[in-house]
């Protein structure tokens, strides 16, 4: 795997100042336009959601209505999870003081309980990005994506797991923390920093799942009874569209060929500059038009998202140009590329680490 040569302390310090400056400049411009933007995005999402569900029912007139409806609902779910939910849950809009657009209260249209996601993603993944053993988002405990993990025979099939994970992604999100805390299977963790009781975690897990299942697979289909199966199938497809899209984007953010991993020792007592450096090396950007950025919840600017997780994401593309420049100035690699090219390297990576590599053997020896 590519090993980065660590920049000198002075470089990191001036790098830190440059990155801070980008952040401060952006923050002075955060205000009414951002509030209007997220409200309008929410409005658009709600209208799309409702019209998608309505069109789906009209499928009995012509199947194209159904297709359109599924598509609209899928996009609505993507917007809800990515551009709205993910960003609101990161606290990007907490400054608005709006009780419904706020990281403490927001809940998304996803099987995963947002509280649980916030704990493992906002905290662990964003603090310990790509540190093997600390960042449970890294490979989701399912995939071997670097030589830091020893190869096991089951890894041969990991391309299949990867596809299954993509198809069932929301369930992965839901089950992630529960699995890590070994709530149902395995031995209880010795050291757990779970701030709520295990009972509560279990309850939240089941609650959220049942709310989601009831809505998409019972309530709406039953409400439109004569077309029960049509609506049921439509909802399944819409969830599938969302799952495939979100998992693809997220994998492109951290598991492209160039993305680095780190060990725990490397990150002890790191300065802000080192932290920034690690965030940049562990993430990769995707290039595309504005609508593409929005559909990814601006995770297409994964680097900027990791540097500034609580800055409203619509500023990322503008910040990206500045960050890239700063990186160039300090000789720090900055990984960006068009979507399909980046995605291809993800697949390559999943494939490559399915097998024991000669490099890995040497390291182990």
């Amino acid at each position: 795997m590519p090993s980065a040569h660590i920049p000198s302390a002075e470089t990191l310090q001036s790098f830190e100042q440059d990155i801070n400056r980008i952040r401060d400049n952006t923050l002075t411009n955060v205000g009414q336009a951002d509030a209007d933007y997220i409200r309008n995005m929410i409005r658009f999402q709600r209208l799309l959601d409702l019209s998608g569900r309505l069109c789906m029912v009209l499928g009995f007139l012509h199947p194209l209505w159904w297709v359109g409806g599924v598509f609209a609902l899928g996009i609505a779910k993507i917007l809800d999870n990515m551009e709205i939910g993910h960003n609101v849950l990161h606290g990007q809009y907490d400054w608005m003081n709006d009780p419904h657009i706020n990281s403490r209260k927001f809940e998304w249209d996803n099987a995963g309980d947002s509280g649980s996601w916030k704990r493992y993603h906002n905290h662990e993944h964003h603090t310990y990005t790509n540190i093997i053993g600390k960042d449970r988002d890294y490979g989701y405990g399912l995939l071997r994506l670097s030589n830091d993990l020893p190869w096991r025979p089951k890894n041969v099939l990991q391309m299949v797991y990867y596809w299954l994970l993509s198809i069932l992604f929301e369930w992965g999100v839901a089950y992630h923390e529960v699995a890590a805390e070994r709530i149902f299977f395995g031995k209880k963790r010795k050291h757990s920093s779970l701030p709520i009781s295990r009972e509560q975690l279990k309850k939240d897990f089941f609650n959220k799942i049942s709310y989601q299942m009831f809505k998409d697979y019972i309530f709406w289909p039953l409400l439109c009874f004569p077309v029960f199966f049509q609506v049921l199938l439509g909802n399944i497809c819409a969830n599938l569209i969302r799952n495939l899209w979100t998992s693809t984007i997220i994998f492109c953010g951290h598991f492209t060929e160039e993305a680095h991993t780190f060990s725990e020792e490397e990150c002890k007592n790191e300065t802000r500059g080192q932290w920034y450096y690690r965030q940049i090396l562990g993430s990769s950007n995707l290039e595309g038009p504005r609508w593409f950025h929005i559909l990814t919840g601006h995770l297409s600017c994964q680097v900027e998202h990791h540097l500034f997780p609580d800055v409203p994401a619509r500023h990322y593309p503008a910040m990206a140009a500045e960050v890239a420049e700063v990186c160039k100035k300090h000789g720090i690699p900055y990984n960006t590329g068009p979507f399909f090219a980046q995605y291809f390297t993800v697949l390559q990576r999943v494939w490559k680490y399915s097998f024991p590599s000669s490099e890995g053997k040497q390291q182990a020896a």
């Binding site: 401060d24 509030a35 990281s103 809940e107 916030k118 603090t127």
Partner: protein
């Protein structure tokens, strides 16, 4: 210090709320549709009443009144109560509490209420409100709150007002007038100087109408602060009266001390703070801040200023267990509701607003007395 923190049980939901939860991921359908409804009705909300600002009337150079028409469903108020107003300033929903200075009778007749507001030096909201709503606009108000109201019956009353603390009393006096209630009322109204008395003409008229009403204006330049002598001089029979005090915190503290020294029983005294209620506890030095953790009832005395300890550490040292994660301001796990007070954000280098708002405990330090929901 020993404390117990209990996991607060999640409020149990009704069937309807569960349905809303399931279908909309919100606790009510209204909350889900709120952004859409706001397209047609600006400032509409599931919490609070959307309210039209009709006029901003200048009372004194630094004092103005907002004339408001509360929206449908607003439940009215009793003279002396206050409302919370919420207005959007550069994308931020800011809230402040103000006493209603007009009377319930005025509301019954016209459907309007008035809030009389002093422009705070360096304040973020009070100067802005005046400009923002000069040509009208929409904001949101809460239901009327508070129990700072005239005592029942028609016993004699003494009202002590300091500065803009006069506003609830204006409401009470006008209400008495409207009800032809001629109870014996003494009002001692203290202000900085002779230019700073509000509603002078109105008070003169009220006095003419009711021989039992006596209003004395005492300016600090000429008479000094409230004192036992002034009380003796202008309201010698204060001991037999129910007493209501409203004004800035030092004036209230002073008045209460004087009255207590003069053996007035506590239950005869009612008072209301303007702004945040100060935390009643001795402190280690004059620039120390007191942090009151409201839910656990713990007060902590700490050093204030930009180099002070983070509030997360303060809370943990006090034995509380607030949720936290990264401890460096990234994850937003440690968000906590601040009721009042100013905090300094060590990450952005900015000071917060004085009113209610959310803060990240791990990167906030106290810059004044604080009340936190913990």
């Amino acid at each position: 210090m020993t404390t117990t923190t209990t996991d607060r049980p999640a409020p149990s939901r009704t069937l309807w709320q569960r349905l809303a939860r399931s279908l909309t991921q919100h606790d009510s359908f209204g909350a889900y549709f709120e952004p859409l409804i706001q397209l047609a009705l600006p400032m509409w909300s599931t919490s609070g009443y959307r309210t039209k600002v009709l006029e901003v009337r200048t009372e004194l150079p630094d004092v103005y009144s907002l004339v408001l028409k509360p929206g449908r469903g607003w439940g009215g108020f009793r003279a002396g109560q206050f409302v919370q107003i919420v207005a959007e300033q550069n994308g931020v929903l800011c809230s402040r509490h103000f006493s209603i200075s007009s009377s319930p009778d005025h509301y019954a007749r016209t459907g309007l209420i008035e809030l009389t507001i002093r422009v705070q030096d360096k304040g973020r909201i009070t100067p802005w409100l005046r400009q923002q709503f000069a040509n009208g606009g929409w904001l949101r108000i809460s239901a009327a709150q508070g129990d700072f109201v005239l005592p029942q019956g028609n016993g004699p009353v003494l009202l002590l007002a300091g500065g803009s603390g006069i506003t609830p009393f204006r409401s009470m006096l006008n209400q008495l007038r409207a009800q032809n209630d001629n109870r014996d009322v003494q009002l001692l109204y203290f202000a900085r100087d002779n230019q700073h008395f509000l509603f002078r003409d109105e008070f003169n008229r009220l006095q003419l109408d009711n021989p039992q009403l006596n209003i004395t204006l005492l300016d600090n330049e000429q008479h000094g602060l409230i004192s036992a002598e002034l009380l003796q001089q202008y309201c010698p029979d204060f001991a037999r009266r129910q007493i209501l005090i409203c004004g800035p915190a030092p004036m209230i503290a002073l008045s209460r001390n004087i009255l207590t020294d003069m053996q007035v029983p506590q239950q005869n005294i009612g008072f209301e703070y303007f702004g945040a209620a100060p935390i009643d506890q001795p402190r280690s030095s004059s620039d120390a801040a007191l942090v009151a953790f409201r839910q656990s009832g713990i007060n902590v005395d700490i050093a204030a200023g930009e180099s002070a300890r983070s509030l997360l550490e303060v809370a943990e040292n006090a034995g509380l267990k607030p949720v936290s994660g990264c401890r460096v301001g990234v994850c937003h796990q440690c968000i906590c509701q601040k009721q009042s007070g100013v905090v300094y954000n060590t990450r952005t280098g900015q000071y917060s607003d004085t009113g209610a708002g959310e803060i990240q405990l791990c990167i906030s330090v106290a810059a004044s007395d604080l009340v936190l929901d913990l």
